[in-house]
């Protein structure tokens, strides 16, 4: 009995995998999406209506033409007719297309008017386009973050296989609640960008110095992916958009997590740390994490672990100093310590720069938690 069940389950999962494997290229990616909102569905239906009208006109017109190309060749019709005008016919094929156009314009105007409904949203998000990333600021809650492409360079340069969401994934997605009206206030920091999410049928240019608005109300929970659609420089193709639509309670949780994180960050970065405070904190961090190799006196072990006392990097190269702690050293035993908090990292680096006579010999610069935060900020 169990094996029967397992077989069925396996079969089901395998079949499911056929449909949930969008990693592959897609011959059936032929048409616009119906999307996840009432408006996007209306836009899709409008698109299909116009499309079918064009197909119908095309079929009629080209049938006459192809018939003629077949039946009125010189061989089949050696003597050409001589008619070359007809006012009646000309009027007919001016008026009829005109009427067809009116039939198209009416639903189109209705839909457009709906899209321009500019009342407030339950959630208001300021979207700012940068070269080459998006920034999102939730106006009600003060949550703010950048959203960068998270696809690895190695995938782009064909060194490793491409992931399922190649060029469509970001480090921090926009999160919005399902079923609520969300309003986007779109602008740009530098050049013109454009924010497009096909599933919402929203596309508005992001223009520096001006704010454009768009709104949506998403019916279905899910992850929706969009793109920048205005040439904005070299990485125009590398600044995607990801919107996660979740249930209200999940959204509320996300917001409060974000607020808490922001609060903590603000606390740390805005606090004015004195050198003494940093050094005191740093000493204990050093004792826990660094002493094993670099020794209490900062001398290291000759030939194996470099000395920090008198080290050129620790004395004079603050940026490289930070970089080593954050990235580690390739091919050496020194690993990345970026899992430590900003305060711990800043204090331990400051400690090394201030101890063992280093402060007098070198530039004596301290490292603040803000420096670590800045380092972590995504680079262009």
């Amino acid at each position: 009995m169990l094996s029967n069940y397992t077989n069925k389950l396996t079969g089901f999962l395998l079949t499911l995998s056929l449909f949930t494997n969008p990693a592959k290229a897609d011959w059936f990616a032929l048409n616009m999406t119906e999307g996840a909102t009432a408006i996007s569905e209306e836009v899709f239906n409008l698109h299909m209506l116009i499309f079918w009208i064009c197909v119908a006109i095309g079929v009629v017109v080209f049938s006459v033409m192809f018939y003629s190309m077949f039946a009125h060749t010189k061989k089949k019709n050696p003597v050409a007719a001589t008619f070359h005008e007809s006012t009646k016919v000309e009027i007919a094929w001016t008026v009829i297309p005109f009427l067809i156009l009116i039939a198209m314009a009416v639903p189109a105007s209705k839909t457009l008017t709906k899209m321009y409904d500019d009342t407030a949203g339950d959630v208001n998000i300021q979207v700012t386009g940068f070269q080459w990333k998006w920034q999102y600021r939730y106006l009600e809650d003060g949550v703010s973050f950048f959203s960068n492409l998270s696809t690895d360079m190695d995938e782009i340069y064909n060194l490793v296989p491409k992931g399922e969401n190649y060029l469509q994934e970001v480090d921090e997605a926009v999160v919005i609640p399902v079923g609520k009206k969300v309003r986007f206030l779109i602008t740009a920091n530098d050049v013109i960008h454009s924010w497009w999410v096909p599933a919402f049928a929203i596309k508005q240019d992001a223009i520096p110095g001006f704010v454009n608005t768009a709104w949506t109300k998403v019916d279905k929970v899910g992850t929706y992916r969009g793109k920048c659609t205005e040439l904005c420089g070299k990485n125009h193709g590398f600044m995607p958009i990801v919107v996660k639509v979740v249930e209200q309670d999940e959204y509320d949780l996300w917001v409060s997590d974000k607020k808490e994180a922001a609060f903590k960050l603000a606390e740390l970065t805005e606090k004015e740390w004195t050198t003494a405070e940093l050094v005191e904190r740093g000493e204990s961090v050093y004792a826990t994490n660094c002493v094993a190799c670099h020794q209490v006196n900062g001398q290291g072990i000759t030939g194996i672990f470099p000395a920090l006392a008198g080290s050129d990097i620790v004395l004079n190269d603050k940026p490289r100093n930070i970089e080593i702690l954050m990235e580690g050293v390739q091919g050496a035993a020194m690993n990345s310590f970026d899992y430590l908090s900003e305060v711990e990292l800043a204090s331990v680096i400051t400690y090394t720069r201030q101890s063992w006579g280093n402060a007098e010999k070198g530039d004596g610069e301290i490292v603040s938690p803000k420096d670590i935060v800045d380092y972590k900020k995504p680079k262009i």
């Binding site: 290229a25 990616a29 080209f62 009125h72 019709n77 008619f83 314009a105 008017t113 190649y166 596309k203």
Partner: protein
């Protein structure tokens, strides 16, 4: 000393000068037409090479061939070269060759300005192409060069780009003045406006459009120049300006520009369909009125290129309705061409093949244009490959096919030799297949969500991109084949008669093939 008898000079025309300086100093409309046509063919191949680089990069997802910065230079130059170096000079070349003969005039009204109009073009394109080797690279902001990407954020070569555009604009303006003055003043007696061949009508209207909008392009690039170098803020919000103003000014030029690139094609196709159907063109006066309506309407639809810029609802509705309206006169023309063929006596020589393909495929481009006019739907199409598909359909199997059709149709008159019909047909079929395999799938990837001006794309777009690239290479190679056909024809072939084509009408077919260096020294009588 002998008294020189003055009227000696009236008796004979000088033939063409000998040597290379003939081409440098010529004021002969046929020579200048030839120069424009060869220049445009060269530019077409250069722009085409850039297209090959673009499509090669897009063959597969990932960056394989070029870096994104260089890719942006390729797409920018590809657009600029094809439009200003390919299509427009080709149509001017055809105007030069054909308009004087079609109206029974001995030459253009301003022959020396005609020479200048041509020769500044290679100069302008030399500047533009040399920007590839400048510090910071060539222009990389798209052929539509929106501010501030093209002002504050532009590479140093932008100044050369502006200079180059000014020169191209000057060339077009001078050419347009020449065409208008020629047509309005030098028609043979009896050739009323409503008796003019349609190609002449199409160029008369096109020339007025050029006069109206090329100066606006010049204004736009001058404002750019001032913003970049002289501290003004036309397009800079910080200084009180507006980047959107750039778009309004640009597209005020840009929309009539696309009709500039298609009206002469309409003229050519009307001639060819009439000839090979052996039946008078249906609805001559409606054809004229249709072209006039299209030209006038073209001035009030520009913002349909800007539907996502944040315009108010009233403006968006106006531009949607006005744009949809253009379908009416355009439809009239298509129906009239088909009505010309209907119950005609048709043969399908190469020019006719290209003309028929034009009617079908340009109409397809018109359909996608109508879809784009629908503003709410346009929010999903704008700046995607759907737009790229649309304009390539109207420009490649549209404008370019009409130019090829014109070359096959009139080259026997220009050179005195028939082109090889089998080779011509082969070129047609390769081009027809190539163009459709390249651009039809672009509708799909656009609808599926791939933006334009992207050097790389997500995986779901890979299949159709691969197909499109294969088509592009087929199309590209076919044009090298076309070059071979043209050279072969010019160098020799079956001798052409004066009439050349059984159903051909018009004054140009009343002179010898090849057309004598000077024709219609005395104006013919037109009934």
């Amino acid at each position: 000393m002998s008294a020189v008898i003055e009227n000696h000079h009236d008796d004979h025309h000088h033939g063409p000068a000998k040597g290379l300086t003939r081409w440098l100093y010529t004021t002969n409309h046929k020579d200048i037409g030839t120069l424009y046509l060869w220049f445009s063919f060269a530019m077409f191949l250069i722009g085409g090479a850039m297209a090959m680089i673009i499509r090669a990069e897009l063959f597969q997802p990932g960056m394989q061939i070029v870096e994104p910065e260089f890719y942006n230079q390729m797409i920018t130059l590809h657009g600029l070269i094809m439009i200003f170096g390919g299509v427009m000079p080709a149509f001017v070349g055809l105007a030069n060759w054909l308009v004087p003969m079609m109206i029974g005039a001995p030459d253009m009204a301003l022959p020396r300005m005609n020479n200048l109009s041509f020769w500044i073009l290679p100069f302008a394109f030399f500047i533009l192409l040399s920007s590839l080797f400048m510090e910071g690279g060539a222009p990389n902001f798209g052929w539509t060069f929106y501010a501030p990407l093209s002002t504050t954020y532009a590479p140093p070569s932008v100044t050369f780009f502006i200079f180059s555009v000014h020169i191209m604009g000057a060339s077009s303006i001078m050419g347009a003045i020449n065409v208008i003055v020629t047509i309005m003043n030098m028609r043979a007696p009896g050739m009323d406006l409503m008796k003019m061949p349609l190609f002449v009508w199409s160029w008369l209207i096109t020339a007025y459009l050029l006069i109206a909008v090329m100066p606006v392009l010049a204004g736009a690039v001058t404002m750019m120049l001032m913003d970049i170098h002289f501290g003004t803020s036309f397009f800079n919000a910080a200084g009180g300006g507006d980047p959107v103003l750039f778009q309004h000014i640009f597209w005020f030029f840009g929309h009539p520009e696309v009709y500039i690139m298609i009206l002469p094609a309409f003229g050519i196709v009307s001639h060819i369909i009439e000839t090979f159907s052996r039946k008078q063109l249906f609805g001559y006066s409606s054809m004229v009125w249709a072209m006039l309506s299209i030209a006038i309407l073209s001035f009030v639809v520009w913002a349909h290129h800007m539907f996502t810029v944040g315009m108010p609802l009233a403006a968006e509705l106006f531009f949607m309705w006005a744009t949809m309206l253009i379908a009416v006169p355009t439809g009239v023309k298509v129906f009239n061409w088909i009505a010309t063929m209907f119950r005609g006596s048709i043969t399908f020589e190469t020019p006719m093949l290209f003309a028929c393909a034009f009617v079908v495929l340009f109409t397809l481009g018109g359909f996608s244009g109508l879809m784009l006019a629908i503003t709410p739907a346009d929010f999903q199409y704008h700046d995607t490959y759907f737009v790229v598909a649309h304009f390539h359909y109207v420009l490649v199997p549209g404008a370019i096919f009409s130019i090829m059709a014109a070359v096959y149709y009139w080259i026997p008159k220009w050179s005195g030799n028939m082109y090889d019909e089998r080779l011509g047909k082969l070129h047609f079929w390769l081009s027809f297949i190539g163009v459709n395999v390249t651009f039809f799938p672009q509708h799909f990837i656009g609808l599926a969500g791939m933006p334009r001006r992207y050097p790389d794309y997500a995986l779901q777009f890979a299949d159709w991109n691969m197909v499109s690239t294969v088509g592009a290479f087929l199309f590209g190679i076919s044009q090298v084949f076309f070059l071979f056909i043209v050279i072969k024809t010019v160098m020799g072939g079956k001798k052409a008669t004066d009439q050349v084509w059984e159903g051909a009408r018009g004054l140009e077919w009343t002179v010898a093939s090849p057309a004598p260096y000077h024709t219609f020294g005395t104006p013919p009588k037109v009934d």
